[in-house]
């Protein structure tokens, strides 16, 4: 089998670590990928220094979108929001460890898009910002 569905991705899809909701939270945001119906909602808590203390996602979608959300949240815990703002597409692809075509790239980047839109407090985030 190709590396596409690496064990890590399937494992995180089946048993996500950061799936759930945080109430209360300091900010939350959600968005979807209308083409495939992937939907991601993210809640984040930060401390007084604006460092992420907790994060959780909910929603549904393909293994790529769900696993990347789980891995992304794992990687932002303890980071400042300023640092998270600098997370890039490459960082997400590094977390997943696979190469993606244009269609699946949208799945992989949905959680980053949601997270950044939440941080910037904007309604819609331009794809280029991700």
């Amino acid at each position: 089998m190709d590396d596409f569905y690496r064990e890590l991705i399937v494992e995180r899809y089946k048993n996500p670590v950061y799936k759930g909701e945080l109430d209360p939270h300091d900010f939350s945001y959600e968005d979807e990928n209308p083409l495939c119906g992937d939907h991601i909602h993210i809640d984040v808590r930060v401390d007084e220094d604006n460092k992420v203390t907790e994060a959780a996602f909910s929603g549904h979608g393909c293994a790529i979108s769900q696993a990347s959300a789980d891995l992304l949240l794992e990687s932002i815990i303890g980071k400042s929001l300023e640092e998270v703002k600098h997370f890039s597409k490459e960082d997400v692809l590094d977390l997943l460890g696979i190469e993606l075509g244009p269609v699946r790239l949208k799945c992989a980047l949905l959680s980053l898009k949601v997270l950044k839109a939440g941080i910037y407090g904007v309604g819609e985030l331009d794809e280029d910002l991700v």
């Binding site: 569905y5 083409l35 495939c36 119906g37 979608g61 699946r104």
Partner: protein, 408 residues
């Protein structure tokens, strides 16, 4: 020629392709677009190589040959759907453009505020959005025949909807998601009794079974060449001659006119009135070759083959764990099987199948309202055509088993 399975497969060069190392192509996405036989590809090549010219205007040999071939294709299409006259066959870009043409011309001319248009819940976006646009412009009322849990039109609701005296009724002859073949003749006859004009979306019917527009008594009937072994870029609007004659033109320009003065023009005769500008000439010729090819096989053979594959597919796929088929028990079902897996998203299913060389579609298949009705964002869809075999379905099942092993 009849139904010679081996010959048919040999006729499609793409089926020889090794799509992944050691995996031949198993193409199960013909509902989106069909593959093309060599004769269709060659017919278009011949036009470009041997007699490329613009049509209708020239007097040189090439122009005469090209015009003759283009117009012959129209007659082939006319015969294929048993229309009364070649004047009733308008070439468009695709089924979508044909529907928009009717909305823009007949619709604007004949529909007014408060008028009712009846559609169904299983329409493709192309038979939905043009009417939504017109409804917004004209303040029309759109009503819908519901789809049952089983995946069929709820015909018990039809009398109440027809009681609203709709001016127009539009429905798909066959659903591109569920495979439901709707009882078109009965629907049209009931709609006519209520005084409605009827447009049938034949994008999934003309490629797969015999369609006789006169027997159906359809007022408008639309389809696309690319789903019936022909090229992209050309589709057909069939319309009854008196309706087409009374409609205003659609796009303005060359070819659609009889006479032009600085401030006025006189539209051309049918069907040219609706074909402005240089059309898709090679594509029309390709469509003609596709029609010849299908006619030689015989549409009854095509349907019988697809019904056989569908029955086999349902038998093999239905028992798989974690999998639910939509419209499994539809009485009259064409060669489409759409399903959901509770362990994997359609994108993952399609991608894992692709690794096995099996091409299926994942998504809402341009029927978002239908998916919403069943409370699912997306499905995986396998669809069958003349070049598919039971071995193709076995490959699909093997691939699905891999999905189950991986995610189950």
């Amino acid at each position: 020629m009849g139904f010679d399975k081996e010959k048919i497969i040999r006729d499609f060069p793409i089926l020889n392709r090794e799509i992944k190392p050691g995996k031949r192509l198993v193409y199960l996405d013909s509902t989106a677009t069909s593959q093309k036989p060599e004769v269709v590809i060659e017919a278009m090549n011949d036009y470009y190589r041997l007699y490329n010219a613009n049509i209708h205007r020239g007097v040189h040999t090439l122009a005469e040959e090209a015009t003759a071939m283009y117009e012959q294709s129209r007659v082939k299409v006319q015969k294929f759907i048993n229309a009364r006259s070649h004047k009733e066959i308008v070439f468009t870009r695709n089924a979508t453009e044909a529907i928009n043409l009717v909305a823009f011309t007949w619709g604007r001319q004949n529909l007014d505020a408060g008028d009712v248009v009846v559609l169904t819940e299983m329409e493709h976006h192309s038979n939905l959005v043009p009417w939504q646009m017109l409804a917004a412009e004209k303040n029309l009322r759109l009503e819908f025949i519901p789809v049952t849990e089983n995946g069929e039109l709820d015909l018990l609701e039809l009398p109440a909807l027809l009681n609203l005296k709709p001016k127009l009724f539009c429905f798909t002859h066959m659903s591109n998601v569920l495979g439901t073949i709707n009882p078109a003749k009965e629907l049209i006859s009931n709609a006519h009794k209520a005084g409605a004009v009827v447009l049938v979306d034949g994008a999934q019917s003309v490629p797969h079974f015999a369609v006789d527009v006169v027997d159906l008594d359809a007022d408008f009937y639309v389809f696309s060449a690319h789903k019936m072994l022909g090229p992209t870029g050309i589709g057909v609007l069939y319309g009854k001659e008196n309706l087409l004659n009374n409609m205003p033109p659609f796009l303005g320009g060359g070819d659609m006119i009889k006479k032009v003065q600085l401030r006025t023009f006189k539209p051309n005769d049918l069907p040219h009135k609706f074909e402005a500008g240089t059309p898709a000439i090679a594509e029309a010729i390709g469509l003609g070759a596709a029609v010849d090819y299908l006619a030689a096989i015989g549409m009854d053979h095509v349907l019988a083959h697809e019904k056989e594959l569908t029955a086999y597919g349902l038998e093999k796929i239905a028992p798989l764990e974690h999998l639910k088929i939509f419209g499994k028990d539809i009485t009259n079902k064409g060669g489409v099987i759409a399903f959901e897996m509770d362990i994997a998203h359609p994108h993952d299913v399609a991608q894992i199948l692709d690794m096995q060389g099996v091409a299926v579609r994942a998504g809402h298949h341009c029927a978002m309202p239908l998916h919403e009705k069943f409370h699912i964002p997306a499905t995986t869809r396998a669809s069958f055509y003349i070049y598919n075999t039971k071995e193709d379905i076995d490959k699909l099942v093997e691939g699905l088993q891999i999905v189950i092993d991986m995610f189950g």
